[in-house]
């Protein structure tokens, strides 16, 4: 399978990328590692007329200690996130979730910014960002703004960025010593989660769901129940509140709803056991 024809523009800075986006409008797509975009283009599900390659914007590949949070350049590869000592110590949920993306060859190319911008309800990193209460820095022609994870995912494969904006940095609050868990339920290695649950217990609880709606989803019912003192088992019963699970060959909505409850309970139990 070969993508439709397109014009290719390689840029070497975020500003040049935004310039190209401004010039070409919604006909253009940014390509980072290309591991979400190229498959869509091969299946002809995406047919951008212009592809702006930001894969060589090397100054957006970094993982930095920024005091109360860790700052990760948007073009940081999953493999770098997975193996970062800083993240393993201070935000272990994120390092672990990065290690669950695809397989090593995929993780050599795919980037954290690309994965978040792709906003796939079935992918691992959006759930981690939601549970951690993280945010992204977004740059456009009029400067930079911070977008909280809760405001980033707005529809099926749709983020809240304007056509001329790009994610430049991902910010995750340090959760050193917090309890955490990521439950990814799938049938085969390297598959997407049929349902997944990310949980962080750090004073308050952050719980999010993979593949339980058309967007990555916060498990608001579970968080609310935990905040009002419910047991893990009782809170887990509210796992599917606000969800609209997809139905496919792997399971119908009822099955996914059941799975979400089971996995939330497992996630909370594991997170509790990891608290220090």
């Amino acid at each position: 399978m070969i993508p439709s024809s397109f014009d290719y523009v390689a840029v070497d800075s975020a500003d040049a990328a935004i310039g190209a986006l401004t010039e070409h409008g919604d006909e253009a797509k940014l390509m980072a590692g290309g591991h979400s975009l190229i498959p869509l283009m091969k299946f002809r599900l995406a047919n951008p007329t212009v592809v702006i390659d930001i894969g060589r914007v090397n100054d957006l590949s970094y993982i930095r200690d920024a005091g109360d949070h860790v700052a990760i350049g948007a073009l940081t590869r999953h493999m770098a996130v997975e193996t970062s000592d800083l993240l393993k110590a201070d935000v272990p949920l994120l390092a672990h979730c990065a290690s669950q993306v695809g397989d090593p060859s995929v993780r050599h190319r795919g980037t954290i910014g690309g994965s978040l911008a792709h906003a796939d309800a079935a992918s691992d990193l959006p759930a981690a960002l939601l549970a951690l209460g993280g945010s992204v820095m977004v740059k456009g022609p009029n400067g930079e703004r911070e977008v909280k994870a809760d405001d980033l995912f707005v529809g099926f494969l749709e983020n809240s960025l304007a056509d001329d904006e790009m994610i430049t940095e991902v910010r995750v609050p340090k959760a050193t010593g917090a309890g955490w868990s990521y439950q990814k339920f799938n049938r085969r290695a390297q598959d997407w989660a049929i349902v997944g649950v990310a949980a962080v217990l750090n004073g308050s609880a952050g719980v999010s769901l993979v593949n339980m709606a058309s967007t990555p989803l916060r498990a608001a019912g579970v968080e609310e129940a935990l905040a009002s003192g419910a047991s893990h088992a009782d809170a887990a019963q509210r796992a599917a509140d606000g969800g609209s699970p997809p139905e496919d060959l792997n399971g119908d909505a009822e099955y996914r709803t059941h799975l979400a409850k089971v996995l939330v309970q497992r996630a909370l139990t594991e997170a509790e056991s990891r608290k220090s």
């Binding site: 399978m1 070969i2 993508p3 439709s4 024809s5 397109f6 014009d7 290719y8 390689a10 390509m31 290309g34 591991h35 190229i38 498959p39 283009m41 091969k42 592809v51 390659d53 894969g55 493999m79 695809g102 397989d103 090593p104 060859s105 995929v106 050599h108 190319r109 290695a189 390297q190």
Partner: protein, 150 residues
């Protein structure tokens, strides 16, 4: 568009369409047919090569993304007529049956050992999760990688 990259130690340049996949460029433009196409959807790993020393699936990379980079395919692994130790290990441990997944399997295994020189059996299996053997010959493949690590 004009691209230039180092492939197996030789600088190659070509004028290609931007939509050309790296695997097609290697196979059809450069005649390096050792890299196989299996699933064409980045699941099976038959097309695994190295870009700047790291394993990637060349069906999910555009040739233009490799512009200016260093690419190694299975043809570039041996040096001076001597097989790479991973190739020797696959041969000695019978790490192949039909052979279709083998080039990708070997390239992924070399990349795996570059990152983790002394993996456990479990780490080898996890590390090769993106490479499928339809003969299901994983036992000897894992044995070959472990032997090569020693």
């Amino acid at each position: 568009m004009q691209i230039q990259m180092n492939v197996n130690g030789t600088d190659r340049s070509a004028d290609i369409e931007a939509r050309t996949l790296l695997v097609h460029f290697l196979r059809e433009d450069l005649g390096l047919t050792g890299t196989n196409i299996g699933c064409d959807t980045s699941s099976c790993g038959a097309c695994t090569i190295h870009v700047n020393g790291e394993s990637v699936k060349s069906c999910t990379m555009l040739a233009v993304q490799a512009d200016g980079q260093t690419v190694t395919t299975i043809e570039g692994l041996a040096s001076g007529g001597e097989m790479h130790p991973m190739q020797t290990s696959f041969m000695e441990n019978h790490g192949l049956q039909c052979g279709y997944c083998t080039p990708g399997m070997v390239m992924a295994s070399v990349s795996l050992l570059n990152e983790n020189p002394n993996p456990t059996e479990h780490e080898v299996r996890e590390g090769l999760e993106g490479n499928l053997c339809r003969c299901t010959g994983y036992h000897n493949i894992v044995k070959a990688v472990l032997a090569a690590a020693e």
